[in-house]
């Protein structure tokens, strides 16, 4: 279910929050988002002063450092009409944690509230925000597409149905559910390096679910889960890979004519 009473983002300029991990490791995913949004006639700008949302510090229990980083986010996106990000986890940080992080702060508090109210996760923006599910995409060969429902998006933003609808809108793509698609992949930020054996065991369960499924490719909305899952799939010598939803959508649009 979409969160009620969110102001419609239709017709507004999108400020892209690409996230630090996409910025440094998967910049093409950011470009995929831009391609898709511009194809839909949305004006996209990229505030160059952006860094990270501060979640690593926040989840580490260090709210002072988290707030310092979050302030840079708020400075970078000051004046934004709509913020779109290809990450359920980072969107959750802005939407759910920024307001509490700056609660009682007369300067940053209202800015945090404002950022929270205009931030959308990518699939949520397309489906709930713009009301689009069919982008007119087509894959060259038929593929069964599994999903990994990344935890924060799934449980705090109620994501899941949006990505499925968008995949359903691609010709030659068929949603093929992976068992336990709603179970954590074991990434958890610092958790993965703080408790590597536990994280590795959780990852192995996820890899087993994927390799035991019929999916040719697994789509997720978070680059961090993608890094974890692909690291595990590569290690287990599986040919299946996890891709970001934006990249699958962008791939399906290559060579397709833009809608008028």
């Amino acid at each position: 279910m979409a969160e009620p009473n969110r102001e419609s983002p239709k017709g507004k300029t999108v400020s892209l929050f690409v996230t630090c991990i996409v910025d440094m490791m998967y910049p093409q995913t950011g470009m995929s988002v831009v391609t898709i949004l511009e194809r839909l006639g949305v004006k996209v700008i990229f505030p160059m002063a952006q860094t990270c949302c501060g979640q690593p510090a926040f989840n580490g229990g260090n709210r002072r450092e988290a707030a310092r980083v979050a302030k840079q986010f708020l400075r970078a996106f000051d004046g934004a009409e709509v913020i779109v990000t290809p990450s359920g986890s980072c969107a959750t940080m802005v939407r759910h944690e920024f307001p509490t992080l700056f609660a009682g702060d007369s300067f940053w508090g209202p800015r945090a509230e404002r950022a929270a109210s205009i931030t959308w996760e990518f699939s949520e923006y397309l489906v709930d925000g713009l009301g689009v599910t069919d982008l007119g995409g087509r894959l060259d060969t038929p593929r069964k597409v599994g999903l990994h429902d990344a935890c924060h998006g799934l449980r705090l933003l109620k994501l899941g149905r949006q990505a499925r609808a968008l995949i359903g809108g691609i010709e030659n793509a068929e949603v093929s559910e992976v068992p336990d698609c709603d179970v954590c992949c074991g990434f958890g930020g610092l958790f993965a390096v703080k408790m590597p054996d536990v994280s590795g065991s959780m990852l192995q369960d996820k890899v087993n679910s994927i390799t035991g499924s019929e999916a040719d490719v697994v789509v997720t909305g978070d680059a961090s889960c993608l890094t974890q899952i692909n690291g595990g799939l590569a290690r287990s010598e599986s040919a299946v890979r996890c891709v970001h939803l934006a990249d699958l959508l962008a791939e399906s649009l290559e060579g397709q004519e833009a809608p008028k």
């Binding site: 302030k71 449980r155 954590c184 958790f191 408790m195 290690r235």
Partner: protein, 469 residues
Amino acid sequence: MKVESNNFIELASIAIQNTEQQAAVRRGTRNGYLNRLAAFTQFGYEHGQHLRMQAAAAKRRALKSLPDLLEEAEARMTENGITVLWAEDAAEARHHVQEIAARHHVKRIVKSKSMLTEEIELNDVLQGAGLDVVETDLGEYIVQIGGEHPSHIVAPIIHKSKESIRDLMVEKLGMPFTDSSGEMVAFARQRLRPIYLDADMGISGGNFVVAETGTIGLVTNEGNGRLCTSAPRVHVVLVGIEKVVESVEDYALLTQVLPRAGTGQHMTVYTSMINGPRRPDDPDGPEAVYVVLVDNGRSAIYATKYAEVLTCVRCGACQNACPVYRSTGGGAYGWVYGGPIGAVLTPLYVGLENAKPLPYASSLCGACKQVCPVDIDLPRMLLDLRCDMEVRGYGSRVYGVGLWVWSFTQRWPWSYRLAAWAARVGQRIMGRWHPGPIGAWAKYRDVPTFAPKTFHQLWAEREEVMSRK
């Protein structure tokens, strides 16, 4: 029980190597999870959510007026002929039980399942005093003969395979070799039956205390609870002070929710409401009933931002849902309670300094809150505990410095660009050398590479091309 929670990481690593235990825990938790899901969605998703929200409201209401409700419960129970005793800590609770045993010349005790008695290490003390104590819940019985501790709140031997239970029963009880779990259960039943009848005292926990009627609510599945609470001369209930609820109506609601969450049942096989000792016209029942209301750290939690954790009904659903628990089992948490609820309760009960890894024993995936029948925000509490760790200076210094350096790079665009450049160049120089945290990562996964150009750079190039057009 010695607190070993500071060894969580090591204990977890050992548990993960134990493939037989891994298989048992995964199977058990998965079944529990799916059964819960089926029970809560049988009448539709919305119905299940309404049940959860009503249950949460009932428990939170009770928590809010806890002091008053406890007094009301004491008054009603006393009117019902129950002797009510208060215990501030584990030692006082144990002392009460020992005194009651002495007063009634008790030699043999049967116990129904109770996590609180694990918390206060009751068995050790009673056995040390020369009393015979027999656990009668089948799982707890196996735990007792194996000299172990329960690894799950409602399924104490979830970590054991059928075969290992069989071998234990053959070794310790002289059971004839069998592959049939039915025969194993029948053997245990035959073995336990005369023990109930010989027992002088029964000890049980309590799932709920109904304030308005002074009733102890007990939900069980094996019938052992009824035998323990009605066959022996004396019945002692040990119950945490947080178990009190306002009304019979709330009790009726909660007895629908607890079994659904714990085992996927609509109701447990036995749902008992114990109101006091045997009355003159009763055909059976104990001569004396005692209720020991145990604090043991609960009122200290009541005064903190973690008070809501006291609404826990001990169903074990969060353990079944937790991917960390599924990987490690309950033993790794190093105290009575494992899983997400244990990761929150243990530091609060035994002190953060004695359970430092537990707030971090979670990927913060949120599955625990999602399945909690009273909607306790366990992920939020884990985050708050991590904050407490930092504030009290218990956090790892290495990570603290690392985090500060990281935060520094994220606070300004220039430092961010510098860090992105350094990361890329650093990775190229280090090649396949993976020190520290990168090594921890590389143990189970391939290490991702930084892109040749950041999105920032790609965007700047694009802007330049577009401005030339």
